[in-house]
Structure formats: structure tokens, C-alpha cells
């Protein structure tokens, strides 16, 4: 019994010491080395993770740690000087900039991609495009039948996300400007909405663009992705049309940011150059986002200098 216990302790000690050895930084050679702490938005935490993996393949001496927690959490951590880069799926607020300045932090934002929300309906639905205002009315519960917006005489079934979702908040802020209809079904995730819309002729739902495309970038079968126009007088654009999203013509899209403290230097600069490079932007695209539009890219270049 005692023998066994002793053996167990020895094995444990061995395992721990091996783990500790593994954690020790390797000896310095030439090239960049060090750590990079990234924290913030849940919307882009997966994207940042994939970017970090690729980056670490190229720069094996840099350790990049990515954690979520929400845009606000990330920015708060940046203000408290606990991290190097904050992920954010919204622009930094005026109040946050002021807080940061009080603590001698100079936040600089880099748009690393665009996030578009696609509105989807069942493939049998004749409605092909809607204005932002109509979408707002539908989700606020003011339009309840498809015939009011040029469809069949069917009651609309609303699918949306639960209130802990960033997409829920984004659509509310950009489209609804009010409360969601209490008839809207709060689904667990993007994939569940896609499946529900495929099976429900009366449905409308909203999901991240990545969820309505297959590997080749084509629309998945069973549903239609609605084109959306800013108002009745402008043209409607589809979120699948990368060029128009890039040009800022698709109305329900937002930039996603990485925010740093002051002028980029050292690893942070190298990281941002990687993210904004062609390779980095390709990853942004394969992860379901859109590359940085040209106007924001110019701003990024200015900030990187």
C-alpha cells in the first residue's frame, strides 16, 4: 500500500517536472521572441486563435495567448495594462478612451476585418430583398405576415439568437433600434437557426455569413440569403457578394478591431503586419469574415507607420 502510494507520488512529481520543463522558455536565438496577450470579443476569438496558430508556426519563439470574455472585457483589460491587444467587435467608446488616457494608455484601433450578418429565409420564400427598415419592423413584430412585404399570405416565424450573443446585440443596435418581438424564438446558435430556417417555410433568421456558405463560398442549399438595402431608394446587396461588403455597400456589416496601446512596436507591430498581410487577410476570409475594406486599410497603414 505504502509502496504504491510512494510510487504514485514519484510519478506525479515526474509528470509535473516534465510539464514545468515544457513551460520554460527556450534559449534565445536571433529573431523575435516573447509573449503576446490578446483578450476580448467572443465574435472574433476563433479568428484570433487561428491567426495566432499560423503566426506561431512562422515565429516559433513568440507565444500568443488568446482569450475571450467580450469586447468590453478586452478593452477594460487593455486600460488596466493587463494585456497587449484587445479584440473588439465594436469601435472603442469615447468614455473608454478617456478612462485610458487617465491611466496613460493611448488606444489605437486597427480594423482587422469585416463581420457581416446575413438574413436568411426558406428557399420557397419568394421574397428576395428587404430594406433595413423592413427587417427592423419584422423583428420588432410590427410586420407579421409575409404578404405585407411582397410574399405569400403566411405568418412570419422569427428566429434569432439568445441575449448572450453578440450577434443578438449587433442586430438590435443596427437594425431594430428597439426590442425584439417576444414571439421571436431564441435559438442556441447559428447552426440551429440555419437548420430551423431550412425546415420552416415561414421563417426568417439571422446568422454570421460563414454559416450560409459552403467550403467553396457558395450559398448552402435549402435557404435564400436576402439582399439588404439601406432604404427604399438604394440598391440591395447580398452579404455573399464580397466586393460590395468590402466597399461598404452591404448595410448590416461592421468592422472588427484589434486595439493596442500607443505606437505599435516589436512583437505587436510584427503581429499586426502579419494580420493585415495578404496571408492574414486570407485567414480572415476563410474564417467567415470579410477582408478589411480599402478606406479602413489606409487608416491601418497610417497607424502602423
Amino acid at each position: 500500500m505504502n509502496m504504491r502510494k510512494g510510487l504514485g507520488v514519484i510519478v506525479l512529481v515526474l509528470v509535473f517536472s516534465l510539464l514545468l520543463l515544457g513551460c520554460q522558455p527556450k534559449e534565445k536565438e536571433q529573431g523575435l521572441s516573447g509573449q503576446l496577450q490578446i483578450k476580448g470579443s467572443d465574435t472574433i476569438v476563433n479568428l484570433a486563435q487561428v491567426l495566432a496558430e499560423k503566426y506561431m508556426e512562422e515565429k516559433p519563439k513568440v507565444a500568443v495567448a488568446v482569450t475571450g470574455g467580450g469586447s468590453g472585457t478586452g478593452i477594460a483589460a487593455l486600460i488596466n495594462d493587463a494585456i497587449d491587444i484587445a479584440n473588439s467587435s465594436r469601435e472603442i467608446k469615447e468614455s473608454e478612451i478617456n478612462q485610458a488616457k487617465e491611466r496613460d494608455i493611448e488606444p489605437v484601433s486597427f480594423a482587422i476585418g469585416m463581420d457581416g450578418i446575413s438574413f436568411i429565409v426558406n428557399e420557397n420564400n419568394p421574397v428576395k430583398d428587404l430594406t433595413v427598415e423592413e427587417l427592423g419592423k419584422i423583428y420588432r413584430g410590427e410586420i407579421t405576415n409575409w404578404k405585407e412585404i411582397g410574399g405569400d399570405d403566411r405568418e412570419i416565424t422569427l428566429y434569432g439568437r439568445q441575449s448572450n450573443s453578440g450577434t443578438f446585440a449587433f442586430v438590435q443596435e443596427f437594425v431594430l433600434l428597439g426590442d425584439y418581438s417576444d414571439k421571436m424564438m431564441r435559438m442556441n446558435g447559428n447552426a440551429q437557426i440555419v437548420e430551423a430556417v431550412k425546415g420552416d417555410k415561414n421563417s426568417i433568421g439571422y446568422v454570421g455569413v460563414a454559416y450560409v456558405k459552403d467550403e467553396n463560398g457558395n450559398e448552402i442549399p435549402g435557404l435564400n440569403v436576402l439582399a439588404v438595402s439601406k432604404d427604399a431608394n438604394t440598391q440591395a446587396y447580398s452579404p455573399l457578394d464580397t466586393e460590395s461588403v468590402k466597399a461598404g455597400k452591404y448595410p448590416v456589416a461592421r468592422a472588427v478591431y484589434q486595439i493596442i496601446d500607443g505606437k505599435p512596436e516589436g512583437i505587436v507591430k510584427d503581429w499586426l503586419e502579419f494580420v493585415l498581410s495578404e496571408e492574414g487577410q486570407n485567414i480572415v476570409e476563410t474564417e467567415g469574415f470579410f477582408p478589411v475594406p480599402s478606406n479602413l486599410a489606409a487608416e491601418n497603414d497610417e497607424n502602423l507607420k
Binding site: 448572450n164 438590435q172 417576444d182 414571439k183 424564438m185 420552416d200
Partner: protein, 308 residues
């Protein structure tokens, strides 16, 4: 010689002391285990109460219980009414009981009175395995299989509604109801049945008029325990009932239960705000509901044992 004997006596005495000590040690060990359960229950209740208390300082009990809209993150201000979700929870639970009670009792009566012992030995464990299926799996079946099926049968556009939740919860509470009812029916004294049969009643009459009424308190307790399980179930209803917070008007409406609301909102709520304390308040309501159900079943069971 004498010395040796007294030595032995001392040894035995010591031994006895030792074993007595050991015995009382065991006694206290088991006492502590028993107390632990009570302590945990008390702790949970205390935690719920203290965290819910600040909520009632800001929101009146009347608004909390009698208004329909629960929307703490509303665009034009927060509203804290739990009527819709309480009604949703009750609807789904009673729907489940409507299905599970007749089915469960019939199954239990069959197993206890009609089935051959060999068959019973096979079926009873199988039913108990049903209780071990994770709720997330049952919820998944609700989305993938039952939802589309219900939509087709009811002619609605989708099947994520109260009926779906009721059906799934009835499946989940069936094992509890069947096994406990079967125990209750089996423990009805054989003399009752013999007397009935001797008076010329047939098997069916004996079952309906003698055996089931005699085991009734046990059966009711079984139903209550099954109901307790259904009220508190979270994952299944979260997945299969659609979670629309509107006040339900029929069984084909999507509903959002108390448990789903807590599960959805607790992940994003800023701590120590009215909303946070509000979630504990609805947790407290849920606790009281299940506590009441369990208490009733316990009282009935006690009464039943006294009769025995």
C-alpha cells in the same frame, strides 16, 4: 497465573474500549454524512435567499409575479415580470404529466400484475436505463426528430413548441413514475387480491378497484417525483421549446420556461445588478415550486407507510 489473568482482563477491557470508540466513530461519521446533505440544502436555500433579497428591494412583489414581460435588457428600460415563464413552465410540466401519468401507471400495473416474472426482469432494468439518457440527447431528438414530425402532424410551420417539450419531458419522467408505481403496486398485500378474486371479481376488476386504490398513495408520490424532475429540467426544454418569451396562449406556441431563462441569461449578466439578483429571485421561485411538489409527495408517502 493470577497476574496473567488480570493482564488478559485489562487487555480485553482495552480492546472493548477501543471497539466502543471505533463504533462511536462510525456513528459520528455517518451522522456527519447525514448532516452534510441537510447543510448543503440549507446552504443553497440561504444563497438563493440572500442573492434574491436585493431584487425585492427594487422591484415590487406585485410587478414580479403579476406582469407578463421579462426583459431586463429591454431597449426602453427593463421589465421584470415572471408570469409568462411560470405559465410556460406549468404548461410544459402538466402537458408532460398528462402523457406520462396514464402511460406510466398502465405500464407499472402491467409489470406488477400481468407480465411474467422473466419478462419483468428484462423490462424493468431497461426502463431504468431510460432514466440515464442525458437530457441533451433527448433535447437533440426533440429538435431533429420530434420537431419536424410535430410540424407535419399539426400543420404548423415548425415544431419547436410546448407540445414538443411536454412529450420529451414525459419520456424523461416515465422511468421515475413506472419504477416507483410498480413498487407501490407490488407491495399491496396479496390477501386483498385473493379476497377480491374469491368474491368472484375478475382480474381486471381486481386491478382497477382493489390493487390500484390500495397502492394509490405510493402511485401519487411517484407521479409527484416525476413532476419534480419535469419542472426542473433545463437542457431539454431549452433546446426543444423555441424559447419565445411571449405569454403562451396554446400548446402550439413556443414557450420559454423558468429554467431556460436562467440558463440563457446567467452567462451574460453583470454581477450584483438588479438583473443578476432577479435571476436568483426566479431561481427561488423555481426552488419553491419543486420543494412544494417534493414535500407533497413526501407527505403522501409518509401517510402511506403509516397505513401499512
Amino acid at each position: 497465573m493470577k497476574n496473567k489473568k488480570s493482564n488478559q482482563a485489562v487487555f480485553m477491557l482495552r480492546n472493548r474500549k477501543k471497539s466502543r470508540l471505533r463504533e462511536s466513530g462510525y456513528k459520528y461519521f455517518f451522522l456527519c454524512n447525514g448532516l452534510l446533505a441537510i447543510f448543503v440544502l440549507g446552504g443553497i436555500f440561504y444563497l438563493l435567499l440572500t442573492n434574491a433579497w436585493p431584487f425585492f428591494k427594487e422591484i415590487s412583489l406585485k410587478e414580479f409575479i403579476l406582469t407578463k414581460s421579462w426583459n431586463p435588457t429591454g431597449w426602453n428600460g427593463a421589465s421584470y415580470g415572471i408570469l409568462s415563464m411560470v405559465v410556460s413552465t406549468l404548461m410544459v410540466t402538466f402537458g408532460a404529466m398528462l402523457i406520462a401519468v396514464p402511460l406510466g401507471i398502465a405500464c407499472a400495473a402491467y409489470l406488477a400484475e400481468v407480465a411474467s416474472p422473466g419478462f419483468r426482469e428484462v423490462v424493468k432494468p431497461l426502463i431504468e436505463i431510460l432514466a440515464g439518457i442525458p437530457s441533451v440527447v433527448i433535447g437533440f431528438i426533440g429538435i431533429v426528430v420530434l420537431g419536424p414530425l410535430l410540424a407535419r402532424i399539426l400543420g404548423t410551420s415548425h415544431g419547436l413548441n410546448a407540445i414538443n417539450g411536454s412529450l420529451l419531458l414525459s419520456i424523461m419522467s416515465l422511468p421515475t413514475i413506472i419504477t416507483l408505481s410498480e413498487d407501490a403496486i407490488s407491495s399491496v398485500p396479496i390477501e386483498y387480491k385473493r379476497a377480491s378474486l374469491a368474491l368472484g371479481a375478475n382480474k381486471w376488476y381486481t386491478l382497477i378497484k382493489i390493487t390500484l386504490p390500495a397502492g394509490l398513495s405510493g402511485i401519487v408520490a411517484a407521479v409527484m417525483l416525476g413532476m419534480g424532475r419535469a419542472i426542473g429540467e433545463t437542457m431539454t426544454v431549452l433546446m426543444a421549446t423555441g424559447n419565445a418569451p411571449a405569454f403562451p396562449t396554446s400548446f402550439t406556441d413556443s414557450v420559454r420556461t423558468i429554467t431556460s431563462s436562467i440558463a440563457i441569461e446567467l452567462g451574460e449578466v453583470p454581477y450584483y445588478t438588479t438583473h443578476f439578483h432577479g435571476l436568483f429571485a426566479i431561481g427561488l421561485i423555481l426552488f419553491m415550486m419543486t420543494f412544494f411538489v417534493n414535500l407533497v409527495s413526501d407527505l403522501i408517502l409518509n401517510k402511506y407507510q403509516e397505513v401499512e
